[in-house]
Symmetry: C2
Subunit: 150 residues, 2 copies
DNA sequence: GTGTGTTTGCAATTTCATTGCGCCGGTCGC
DNA sequence: GCGACCGGCGCAATGAAATTGCAAACACAC
């Protein structure tokens, strides 16, 4: 993959909105023949520009009624402590995202749980079991006016 | 859609990892015939459990080298101020997510930009143009050890 | 046990993805 | 300027997959 041209960007725009559009429809949307279009998509996949495809699920329909972002600070900033924390987070299904950020705290987590009660359980059982944590603050999501990565 | 059974959950699990798996392969993975499997998928889509499909793009390959989360506080907490802010955010392509959260500040944003310079431009031109903001703090993402919603 | 409403698997049909091939436009070397 | 070369395109043929009708298997309720 040398460089993305306007057609490639168009394809990516469409696919990031509808990852399961048929190649035929996609080709029409970007004004290409199906074969040319498919070849571009394959090239984008091979180049890693398209990292994969996902179904977007509705949390509410799955019984997830509690979503929060957590700022988490560690006691020690050693490599070992960070790795231990990241391992724990990787294992916890409630944690959908974990970002290592700059600022007062080291991590920002996105946590999804069924309700406040199961969030509390997560807080106690998962977070409470980690000795390396110093500060935790919970920010409950009340709404997401924009969520393009949903 | 009455209720999700184990097969449905299995299907959702597979599709959220690989949204473009062929129905044939999916059917095999969940031990169903292709037709039965497809009908379940269609039902899940119709019920809104599957809200859609997306291609996951690699930000780095697209020239996005700067990702940050921003805590944003408003001066006034009026409905009008919130709506104005949300409208502005909806228009800004750099903002990929905007969550209305509890805590010291009202909003948490995820912003993606090409580099620090273009982030600064966003900060000045977009955020600087909003009179209703009181506090902004930027948390640069250094890494994302877990990002299931990517 | 029988009726009712679902869900399944099979098989036929249609639609789609995929690939080989020749064509066109642009580029480079001479 | 001219011809060989390269990259990308569309067309058409091929094979694979999605989709649907239908009858059997199943699950319950009565």
């Amino acid at each position: 993959m040398t460089k993305l041209d306007e057609k490639d960007r168009q394809i990516l725009r469409v696919l990031s909105r509808d990852g399961r559009i048929s190649n035929l429809d996609l080709a029409e949307k970007v004004s290409l023949s199906p074969s040319a279009c498919l070849r571009r998509v394959q090239a984008l996949e091979a180049a890693g520009v398209i990292a994969g495809y996902r179904a977007v699920l509705d949390p509410a329909k799955l019984g997830v009624g509690f979503i929060a972002y957590l700022s988490v600070g560690l006691k020690e900033h050693t490599k070992a402590a960070q790795e231990a924390f990241e391992r724990a987070v990787a294992r916890a299904p409630e944690v959908r995202e974990c970002h290592n950020i700059t600022g007062n705290v080291e991590y920002l987590l996105r946590v999804e749980a069924a309700d406040l009660a199961s969030y509390k359980a997560f807080h106690t059982d998962v977070l409470g079991a980690l000795p390396q944590l110093s500060t935790i603050s919970t920010h409950v999501v009340m709404a997401s006016p924009k969520d393009e990565r949903a």
